[in-house]
Symmetry: C2
Subunit: 192 residues, 2 copies
C-alpha cells in the first residue's frame, strides 16, 4: 500500500552536478546541484536550478556561461563539501586541492580530476519559485579517454558517477547494468 | 587526458521517469522520459521535457496534469518498452499487464506496481527547441509503505530505482551507499 509524503521534491535518483563558474574577479568557483538534468536534444541542453542566494547564481548571470563536472564516486566528500560552503567565503579549489581547468569553449572553469564535463552557454533563464532555472546549451562534452567504451561514449562503469537521494539525504554509486535501451523492452514485448 | 565528444546530451546518470497521462477519451497512457529532474524546492517542482510528436505531449497540454512513476529495477523491460512505442497505437497498460491507478490528487494515472509516484499540476510550459519542458508542481509524493526508512522517506535501497546512461544507451541499477549528504563533506573538510 502507498503512503502519502505530501508536496515534496523526492525523485530517485538525482544527479550530482558540480557547477563551475568564474566570479567577477575571475576566481573559479564550484557548487554541487542536484536539481536539474538534460532538458532538450536539439539544441543539446542541460537545466540547472539554483537559488538566487548562491554565489554561483550571480556568476552565471554575469558571465552567461557555466560547466557541469560529473564526479566519480571517489570524490563524494568533495561533492558534498562543494554543496555546503559558499564561494563567497571560501576558495573551494584551494581547500580540496582539486584543479580548476579553464574551458577552451566557454568562459567557465571545470574540475580537472572529474571524468565527465559539459561546457555550457546560458540559452534561457526561467524563474520558477525559490529556484531559478538556467538552461545551458551544451557546446561540448569532455570525457577521460580511458573511460570511453568501444564506440567512444562514456562508459558508466568506468566513470562511476555519484547519485543523490533526496529525502534519505544520501549519496549512492551506480549499480549493475540492467539492460540495453531500446532492446530489452523490444525483446520482452515485440518479439525478436 | 580528456577527449571531446562534441555537442551532446550525455549526463550521467539520468532518471527513468514514467510519465502518466489520460488522452482525450480518458484512456491512461505512460511514456518513459530521461530528460528532466527536480527544478525547484518552493513550490516543489519536477521538469519533464517531451517532443511535441509524443502522444503524452498532447495529453499534458489538454489535461494540465501528469504523474511521474519511478520504477524499481525489476521493471526495466517495461520502462524501456514504454519509451519505444506510442500510446496512439498501443495500450501499454494492457500489453504489459501493469495497473493504471487514478490519482486522487490530479487528473492523471500512475503505475500501481511502481514504488514511488509524484503527482503534478502543470505550472509552466517552456519551449526550448526540439523538446518542450513541462514544469509540474508536485502536489503529493506516494511511496510503498514497506519501502520507507525510519524517518518515513523512501529508502533508495528498497526502491531500487532504474537509472539511464545516455551515450552508452543502457540502464543501470543503484549502487552502494557512499555517504550522508551534508555530513561526509563536513567531516572531511570542516572538522567534526
Amino acid at each position: 500500500m502507498k503512503a502519502s509524503l505530501g508536496a515534496n521534491t523526492i525523485l530517485l535518483p538525482t544527479p550530482t552536478m558540480v557547477v563551475g563558474t568564474y566570479d567577477s574577479s575571475g576566481r573559479p568557483n564550484v557548487m554541487t546541484a542536484a536539481w536539474g538534468g538534460i532538458c532538450c536534444s536539439v539544441p543539446p541542453c542541460v537545466a540547472v536550478s539554483l537559488r538566487k542566494a548562491t554565489y554561483t547564481y550571480g556568476n552565471i548571470v554575469d558571465k552567461g556561461a557555466f560547466t557541469v563536472s560529473i564526479p566519480s564516486e571517489l570524490f563524494v566528500r568533495e561533492v558534498d563539501y562543494f554543496g555546503i560552503v559558499s564561494g563567497r567565503d571560501i576558495d573551494k579549489f584551494e581547500v580540496t586541492g582539486l584543479t580548476a581547468v579553464h574551458s577552451e569553449v566557454v568562459n567557465a572553469p571545470y574540475v580537472g580530476e572529474f571524468p565527465l564535463v559539459l561546457e555550457c552557454l546560458v540559452l534561457h533563464t526561467f524563474e520558477i519559485g525559490l529556484h531559478t532555472q538556467f538552461i545551458g546549451e551544451i557546446l561540448d562534452v569532455k570525457i577521460e579517454d580511458d573511460m570511453q567504451d568501444e564506440r567512444g561514449n562514456p562508459d558508466p562503469q568506468k566513470v562511476l558517477p555519484c547519485t543523490y537521494a533526496p529525502g534519505a539525504g544520501a549519496y549512492y554509486g551506480l549499480g549493475k547494468k540492467l539492460g540495453k535501451g531500446f532492446i530489452v523492452g523490444r525483446e520482452a514485448y515485440m518479439g525478436r
